[in-house]
Symmetry: C2
Subunit: 386 residues, 2 copies
Amino acid sequence: MSVTAAEGFVAAGCHAGVKRRRYDMALLATDDGKPVPAAAVFTQNKFFAPPVDVSRSRLQANGGRASAVIVNSGNANAGTGPAGKADAEAMCAAAGEALGVSAEHVLVCSTGIIGTPLPIEKILAATPKLAKKLSKEGGEDAARGILTTDHKSKEVLVEGPGFTLGGMAKGCGMIAPNMATMLAFLTTDAAVEAEEMQAILRDASDRTFNTLNVDGATSTNDTVILLASGRRGRPDLAAFANAVHKACEDLTLQMARDAEGMTKMVELRVTGAASDAEARAAAKNIAENNLVKCSWYGGDPYWGRLLAAAGSSGVAFEAEKTSVSYGGITVSRAGTNFDHDADAVAAHMKQERIEIEVALGLGQGSARVVGIDLGPGYIKENSKTS
Amino acid sequence: MSVTAAEGFVAAGCHAGVKRRRYDMALLATDDGKPVPAAAVFTQNKFFAPPVDVSRSRLQANGGRASAVIVNSGNANAGTGPAGKADAEAMCAAAGEALGVSAEHVLVCSTGIIGTPLPIEKILAATPKLAKKLSKEGGEDAARGILTTDHKSKEVLVEGPGFTLGGMAKGCGMIAPNMATMLAFLTTDAAVEAEEMQAILRDASDRTFNTLNVDGATSTNDTVILLASGRRGRPDLAAFANAVHKACEDLTLQMARDAEGMTKMVELRVTGAASDAEARAAAKNIAENNLVKCSWYGGDPYWGRLLAAAGSSGVAFEAEKTSVSYGGITVSRAGTNFDHDADAVAAHMKQERIEIEVALGLGQGSARVVGIDLGPGYIKENSKTS
């Protein structure tokens, strides 16, 4: 159940010394070193990190092909200027040399603290050893090597008709629509062209990773990469797209459950908006609202805060047309309190996964966000860098 | 030093029983019951509360004149539908009757929890007694009567050339640009027309109250009201505008210092943006970012999070042109670390009031936001309604 489940891929993880003790590097590669079709989705943050710059440029230059991805955790190589870019290129060169492949076909990702130079010597020294460890069984080690404040590895396996799709991810903070510090790597043995994979990966990311909102912060380093070895031939494209969506959704929920300081995960749907875009804007404003997030932490079905957040999100809103439900139980209608079974709502609020619908009653627009509560654990994890 | 300092105004506060023990009502009135020019700025939240609806309609209908303002705290009369509107009108009628003035000249404000019907009988029963208590000395009681989770009363007095301007305010949560649960009441004995006062109050609010961002949440009930008795004649209009700005600024800083769970107040300036609007957008994204707010709580000058927030705010951004300073000490330049006196920065971060500048290096646009850190106290105050 990992990034090496599909035919044609090997992986490894190791400790290079970026972090004190835990694994801090991962390498994913094709088993014969040949470049294969690759698709990728990157952060939309304009303060993007050098490795994002390097990987994006390579895929553009070579038409979407890659032999390997080298990753370090513990340091994001972000806010590091031209020296950071040279470091990212040096990581590709070192991996290329160790694998006997062109550096142009090596992608690079980093995740961790921002604004501190990468300990590049340690990383370069570890790379040949990491390459030697590459194996079919190395998926789990690789999944450990990409983690930062994550409490658990995140892996996924989807068996499609005639193909396998596997993957790994990391991420639990600085996550907002459009990804933030999350990395995900997917591999498949289906034969799919880079361009068609790109459309499928973009669509799946929009519907999964990009609906996850931990703290309204979009990171500098987000990257999702999908590699296809083609070993098992042409798949049914709809089934393949479905498998990619399923894998991304699974990894998204794993990330939500592991979010920094999280005690409750909220599936928030905004429906009846004037458009999908307006539904997304309202859902984002609700999921990022600290008063709302605190009410989730407290298990308090305080619908007034949800409507106040929706009403201040800039979208069309008429209080008399709204309704709000928790766990399918309507607690507010027409912008005011609606008689309901308070015990049933309280029981729902005690669960780790809460379902909320805010219906605006104006049109057909809808959106879904996976939100996280705000409790003391989040502050504890984020008030000190070190 | 209060809302009754200017000639022509009286006020009172009392306990009506909306809250368990503390004062929960205030009344402000002209001392002869005559209507005077009034200006007001209201919440921009589309989920606005019935008292906002009633006060706004009255000022529109009567051309900007008021004899009195009746206020209750403990319950926002928001999310209460048509019954809530009837309650807000009943409050005006009761105050009008007790004062012998037309209900059309009585404004009404409520603040507190959302979605629970107002205990209107208690409020109506207390109103005649409250009217009897009206006095020149009642300003302090009135300032207590409008508080919710505030820890302190907020009062201000500005002596202008030939006029006095005094006021009171409440607010410490659900505060975001464009006010949120904050109420402010200003009175002056200068003779100023409603229309010119409106422009002055709008401008002052934009530069003060609307720069305060506690939790990115805009409330249902925000209201700022300015009444002018005219007793001391025509002021120099520039001096008057200046006094209004000064009073609003003072109350804004009092609210910031009293923000829910606040341990640090941050004066954040974004400069060098492509436009003032872009500077405001970037500043808002930074001040609402929970990772940034946690770093303020921890006293950590983590400039990477500031740039990540600016870079994902949708405004023009080029990392190589940026610089970031804490307390006037540059810690980042060109999107990367800049050598600095870490002890001096650490000493600045220990203060209650932190100054940060994020310079984008692109144009002349600038904005200022007063932000608040995010610590455990905020969550404690906001995770349970009761």
